[in-house]
Symmetry: C2
Subunit: 251 residues, 2 copies
DNA sequence: ACACGTCGGTACGCTGGCGTACGCTCGTTT
DNA sequence: AAACGAGCGTACGCCAGCGTACCGACGTGT
């Protein structure tokens, strides 16, 4: 439509930017950039997906809840991915999870209708999106093991590092309460864990803010899952047909 | 088995049997039935998938391991599904997990090459397989929450019920040791948990065998995840173009 | 018939994380 | 300036599950 932006400028979302030019272009025709505020809910489980989101500088969490109201995060998605794989899998009517903006930031929103028709029309796009889905499945699968076997402190360190990678900032605006929901632990456990990390000078905190002071130290405090999942995304983005452009070339 | 079976006879795998006749036929042209023995490994993570498996009366577990050698099950797959979704997602070269035959039984094996080319040729088949993938993703996602929030006893009861549904037998041949690996707990924890369930007369055990004595009682001892995931598969199989032949559920 | 290896019952001390709860502090509102 | 609520530090008792370990029971092979 009458989008004023140049369609071949990088968006800041690595997945979109790594698409072949034609697919990138047609997707962006019906895309808009919107800032997703913290705690904004994109959809609830079972609620039809209207638009998928390609985060640019925020983070969206996929969350499942149990009947007794406890929530656990399945995955955090940032600039390396897309929120709404159910559309790719043909299940936009019944997404698996709740999608919640966790760190406020801009996202490229694409109508699910449009994505669906593009997926039908472009085998190339389909292949790429399925590859992304595979990476996300790996991500979630790692979470199964991580939640079973790794202590809260390691999981917390992992979460902070992952989120840092996605927003490219050391300062994360979020409360213990919400981090607790992501990790599936008590709020008090997060406070205790952060106190430990703070004593080790890996992070510092003030009300509503966690600052990562020593990323490499934090990495040693995190479980292997950080590296495993990170490498999976790196591999995905390296493998895509065209690697992410640093600037807009003449086409 | 050199004798080719009639291609429109039900195989016993509900997913295959629910396919449209033409897709079912072409898949079965390059399929063979083989008995997978207990603990047989179909592939290791990162190892190319040669053939996918549609279990008939056995169960295959998808397992991830951590660096320190502990394993956790991501999902158990039986007659309601297919082992090898990485092929569907275009990643047959690097499957996410280890696939291990957990309860011995027959499977329909289909060459991954063949499946891939059929997926290209038949949008219908593709849609169905993606829908299955979505259900499996839901299954794995539920495991993330379950492993975080539900106690071992509930998870154990859930595992037994799920497996019962998949093999249509009350008698499961497996050791505490292996069940422990599935649940991601100590062997001793499984023994203790089973002792509790046995005292409640929900199961009985002998060396290498667990017998489900009271399915509905066991269901009350299991977490919600049993129902949640079961309904997801029921919905999938109900939704497919042709419905699967009637099966006896856990009442 | 025997021996050996696998399987499983049980026990010990330990600890991570739970539920709960109290009160301080910071930041915003009135 | 005062008031209020959200955010957070901390504490207490409690327990599920851990690591380890020992030994008896079963069953398979010779």
């Amino acid at each position: 439509m009458g989008t004023p932006e140049l369609l071949d400028t990088p968006t800041g979302n690595r997945l979109i930017d790594a698409l072949p030019a034609d697919d990138r272009g047609t997707l962006r025709e019906r895309a808009r950039i919107r800032r997703l505020e913290q705690h904004e809910v994109l959809w609830e489980p079972g609620q039809r997906i209207e638009a998928v989101a390609f985060p640019i500088d925020g983070v969206v969490s996929l969350v499942t809840s149990t009947v007794d109201g406890h929530g656990v995060e399945l995955a955090t998605i940032g600039k390396e991915g897309m929120v709404g794989v159910s559309v790719i899998l043909g299940a936009r009517e019944r997404p698996i999870d709740r999608a919640v903006s966790q760190i406020a930031g801009r996202s490229l929103l694409v109508d699910a209708d449009h994505l669906e028709s593009r997926l039908d029309a472009s085998p190339n796009l389909r292949t790429i999106m399925l590859a992304y889905t595979h990476t996300l499945l790996k991500h979630v699968a790692q979470g199964v093991a991580c939640n079973r076997l790794h202590p809260a402190e390691q999981r917390c360190a992992r979460w902070l590092l992952t989120t840092r990678d996605r927003v490219d900032r050391d300062e994360l605006t979020l409360t213990h309460e919400f981090l607790a929901q992501m990790l599936g632990v008590r709020r008090a456990s997060v406070s205790e864990t952060l106190a430990v990390l703070q004593r080790a000078e890996l992070v510092s905190t003030r009300r509503g803010v966690i600052v990562i002071e020593n990323p490499s130290g934090l990495r040693e405090a995190a479980c292997e899952c950080y590296d495993v999942v990170r490498e999976e995304y790196d591999l995905l983005l390296r493998t895509l047909p065209e690697s992410a452009p640093a600037m807009s070339p003449t086409r």
